[in-house]
């Protein structure tokens, strides 16, 4: 609030702490949301499914297995806080998966699933994470590529 008033006083309507709120930008880049989907790839990246599988499992990256289980995936102790994602590509297209990974809390405001591309409007963010999304555009595009290819028929694990 204080930052807003200061910006107003200075006539700097579009700079300073309020820029993101002014454009209502939640994510690390402006995106166009259509229905329950983000049609355009983030950061103009082209996803790679093999890398996406690593992002999904790796503790230092997405670590999605904390909450999700995928049949046939080689990872111990897959969680069950979220729904199993086996055959996800049968249910959702890449644009829908993109919004769910980038900003799940936009679809389900009370979900425990983090919004991995979100940067703005957060509270008490740890110093080392401030201003950064949890995953990069490329990591998310890699996830989208891998998840969209999960089909129950002839599913190939990565």
């Amino acid at each position: 609030m204080r930052a807003c008033l200061a910006a107003l006083a200075g006539g700097l309507l579009l700079t300073g702490g309020c820029t993101e709120a002014e454009t209502e930008q939640r994510l690390a880049e402006p995106v166009t949301v259509e229905g329950d989907a983000i049609p355009a790839p983030l950061g103009g990246e082209t996803g790679d499914a093999a890398r996406g599988r690593v992002v999904f499992v790796d503790r230092e990256q997405g670590h999605c297995v904390l909450c999700h289980q995928v049949d046939g995936l080689d990872a111990e102790f897959q969680g069950n806080v979220g729904p199993a994602l086996t055959g996800l590509g049968d249910r959702l297209d890449p644009a829908q998966i993109r919004l769910r990974v980038a900003d799940a809390q936009r679809i389900w405001p009370d979900t425990v699933m983090p919004s991995y591309y979100r940067v703005y409007g957060l509270n008490q963010v740890g110093e080392e994470y401030r201003g950064e999304p949890a995953l990069t555009a490329r990591q998310i595009e890699d996830l989208v590529a891998w998840l969209a290819a999960l089909k129950t028929e002839g599913n190939e694990d990565g």
Binding site: M1, A21, F77, V81, D110, L122, E127, E132, A134
Partner: protein, 264 residues
């Protein structure tokens, strides 16, 4: 000028809307009939370790705490001089903490009370939060209350602290934007990889955590949960964590004190 005013209004609205994001999680409570101590969610081996006084590594801190309790430093009285050689005067004391200290009007947890005894009655310096001697004394005194039902007073002077702790519990925070309640009220019993999310009670603390390879305070656990959602943790011993501790103690009302717990 008019359009600048309109823009300013819009901007203000947008800015205020951007703080503390999202609809606050619903303030659900745990119904009494499902309330369960964290011990109930342990693997059988870990639980057996906790329940065996000879194997439980937390008992080393109890022993150490007992010696410190009886120790006389210089001119000062020992804790035992006031509270009984075997702490008999303190039997269920820990189950009623945190509580408001009448003299200062501030909320203190067991660690805080021990430090007040040192400065007011023993002429000693307070011990650092999370230091070995303070953990040992706290663990010893909490262990004296083993089995006593948690029962704190949240009325009167304690009420604002309780409110503050409750607010913290239901506020989303961190890069992951999650409130305590979302895991411990809404998703307990589910698997976060190898961990089963418990109801987030504090009745087994200080506890020995295998991940820490040592014993730590409840505040250290809270700090880990904050760090887990990539929020900036508060310092151990901070007023805000003590207020959360009070909220948790009330929320755990009736559960037995189980210090020293063993956790993953």
């Amino acid at each position: 000028m008019r359009s600048l005013g309109a823009a300013a209004l819009l901007l203000l609205a947008a800015c205020s809307g951007s703080r503390g994001e999202g609809p606050a999680p619903e303030r659900t409570t745990l119904p009494d009939e499902v309330k369960q101590t964290g011990t109930a969610f342990l693997q059988p081996e870990t639980r057996a370790l906790q329940e065996d006084d000879f194997a439980n590594p937390g008992m080393l801190w109890v022993d150490r705490g007992r010696s410190l309790f009886r120790e006389t430093i210089g001119q000062s009285k020992s804790c035992a001089a006031c509270h009984g050689e075997d702490g008999s005067e303190l039997d269920a004391a820990a189950s009623h903490y945190p509580q408001v200290d009448e003299e200062s009007g501030e909320l203190v947890n067991l660690e805080g009370r021990i430090n007040l005894c040192r400065t007011r009655h023993q002429g000693l310096e307070p011990l650092d939060y999370e230091s070995d001697p303070l953990l040992a004394l706290t663990t010893y005194v909490a262990h004296l209350s083993e089995g006593a039902p948690m029962s704190v007073d949240v009325s009167g002077a304690a009420a604002p602290y309780y409110e503050q702790g409750q607010d913290y519990f239901f506020t989303k925070r961190g890069q992951f934007n999650l409130a305590c309640s979302q895991c411990h009220n809404e998703h307990w019993g589910e698997k976060l990889r190898g961990d089963t999310i418990s109801q987030g009670h504090g009745n087994s603390f200080p506890a020995y955590r295998l991940e820490w390879q040592t014993l730590g305070s409840l505040h250290r656990r809270l700090s880990d949960c904050d760090a887990g959602v990539r929020a900036e943790p508060y310092p151990l011993g901070s007023d805000i964590y003590t207020a959360v501790e009070l909220y948790l103690a009330k929320r755990a009302e009736g559960l037995p004190v189980e210090t020293p717990g063993i956790r993953r």
